[in-house]
Amino acid sequence: MSQSKLFSPLICRYCGNDLVGDNLSIGFFCFNCRKVFIFKKELKELECVIFKSVVEDKKTEFYLPFYLLKGEFEIFTKEEFKKYAFKKARNFEYVFIPAFFFLKSIYSENLTFKLSLNYEKINEDENIRNDVVLPIFLKPVGLERIAIFYYLLYLDKFADITGVKVNFVIRNLKMSLIPAAREDGVKELIFGTKLIGL
């Protein structure tokens, strides 16, 4: 790596605003352009979707960053009863994958399912905010594989997934910010889920 590429100025390439982010993060936000810049070998720009808090009387203190994957899952199984059982499963059009690691998996997993299965019920926030965002630690690599495991986890509720193969192709990759507040622990402010482990 040449020396000129070792350092990148944390300035938005479109509006020139300073990028917002923790010193430990690998991703930085421009709230003006609603973009996130992720440094991983080559700079990756992602559109950033900020979701609106629906739980009232709570002050948003920070955002939880999730990769928002849009794509199509394909299920391959030779057993007819499994095909029939999987038809009952709801369409998993969007997948939310946590981009942070201090939250214990079980809670982020529950939140992933809640958000992914109720995507149509959650709304984007029109206002521009400058709230604190939890540092992004997860690089945007191997997300397809993680999404497949999430989907298998979901399908396993309908039938045994032994011998079942799932394919997933990402059509669109964005960064999403889920509002959260610290009040008697940590509470996510879209569905009011209490989170432990932060």
């Binding site: 070792l6 440094f39 201090f102 214990k104 998996s105 079980i106 986890l153």
Partner: protein, 368 residues
């Protein structure tokens, strides 16, 4: 390889320092925030300290332990006090897979029942906590593992507790850049990072099923301790205070010698008395004339008895001499205090007897 001297700010071309703790640095000249893009850069964290620690009380408790030399309290002089940060690798990531059966081994907890000085053999068999996945065979979870990045810095039990503390206090981590390097001595990691990655991945993959590692990140977490070095009787001893828990984590304090002198005298007196009594019983009814009057078999038996008794007596006398000559210290760990022999005694088989005797003398499980 980076040429550290030639680093320049991409905005103003002024020289900048190589980032050490976090990826983001500020250019001293144009004050622009810069992101350090090197792939293998390791983030460095510092575990938050407990706010109030009563050092005086802790040190007094440590030097008031059983078998600690009484004069330590009066004569020991504090010569150095230094805050140090011990490095640990934190391996964090995501793993996923499909289990062959509905059982997942989550934790392998090892509990030590009691400390036996250097022998330290009394370890409870591994307790395996099983998490039964009743409805699902799919595993998708985060994992956090902690390994020490230096060796021979502290005893095993204290390091074990420190590892647990890091895992349980991930929310108490802050960037090392917030810590003043003048106040804290940062110990550099010695164990190669490649070994740690391999160890972490192997541990994860060994847990059964077709588990695969989906994401792996390595961080360095520095654990704060405060070292107190005392001068006593032409030598030095050390007490280390854990600043996260706010208690003693390690100490090696000179032991009271009079106990070992008494014990040595007791062993030699007992051996002399016992062997004397034995010989008196054997030779009580036999005179020299009897032995030399032609009874060859009896004569041979008595001479062997005499020879082996003398051998045993000399061995016990030598053992009591070793017992008196060896150096001892009271070792304080997070699990309690025990007596530890310092240095080599010269004769390998005597080590075991000596350590056995030390273990009998006293172990205090709950000192703090």
């Amino acid at each position: 390889m980076i040429n550290v001297k030639g680093l320049k700010c991409p905005s103003c071309s002024s020289p900048i320092k190589l980032p050490y703790t976090s990826r983001v640095i500020n250019c001293d000249y144009c004050n622009k925030r810069l992101f350090f893009e090197k792939e293998d850069f390791v983030l460095k964290f510092y575990l938050e300290e407990k706010k109030t620690v009563d050092f005086k009380d802790l040190i007094e408790k440590a030097i008031s332990q059983k078998f600690v030399a009484e004069s330590v309290k009066k004569e020991a002089i504090l010569v150095k006090r230094k805050k140090r940060a011990i490095p640990f690798y934190l391996i964090s990531g995501k793993r996923g897979g499909i289990l062959t059966d509905c059982e997942e081994f989550l934790n392998h907890k090892r509990k030590t029942i009691y400390t036996l000085g250097q022998l330290d053999l009394a370890i409870e068999p591994q307790k395996i906590e099983k998490n039964f996945e009743k409805n699902s065979r799919v595993i998708l979870s985060d994992f956090n593992y902690v390994y020490e990045a230096v060796s021979d810095i502290m005893d095993y039990q204290s390091l074990d507790r420190m590892r647990e503390n890091i895992k349980n206090r991930l929310d108490g981590l802050k960037s090392l850049s917030e810590i003043s390097r003048e106040d804290v001595e940062i110990i550099l990691p010695v164990i190669p990072i490649e070994n740690i990655i391999k160890k972490g991945v192997d541990t994860q993959l060994l847990k059964g099923g077709n588990i695969e590692i989906l994401e792996i990140n390595i961080y360095l977490v520095y654990y704060p301790v405060e070292e107190f070095i005392f001068f006593y009787n032409k030598g030095y001893f050390k007490i280390v205070v854990d600043l996260v828990e706010g208690d003693i984590c390690y100490g090696l304090i000179p032991a009271e010698r009079k106990w070992f002198t008494f014990l040595s005298l007791f062993v030699s007196a007992f051996s002399g008395f016992f062997i004397g009594r034995f010989l008196r019983t054997v030779f009580g009814g036999v005179s020299i004339t009897d032995i030399f009057s032609g009874f060859t078999i009896i004569a041979t038996f008595f001479s062997y008895a005499l020879f082996f008794s003398s051998l045993l007596f000399s061995a016990l006398l030598y053992f009591s001499f070793v017992l008196m000559r060896a150096n001892y210290a009271v070792e304080i760990t997070k699990n309690g205090s025990s007596i530890r022999r310092l240095g080599d005694v010269g004769v390998p088989f005597l080590k075991k007897f000596l350590d056995f005797l030390l273990n009998l003398m006293g172990v205090d499980k709950n000192i703090l």
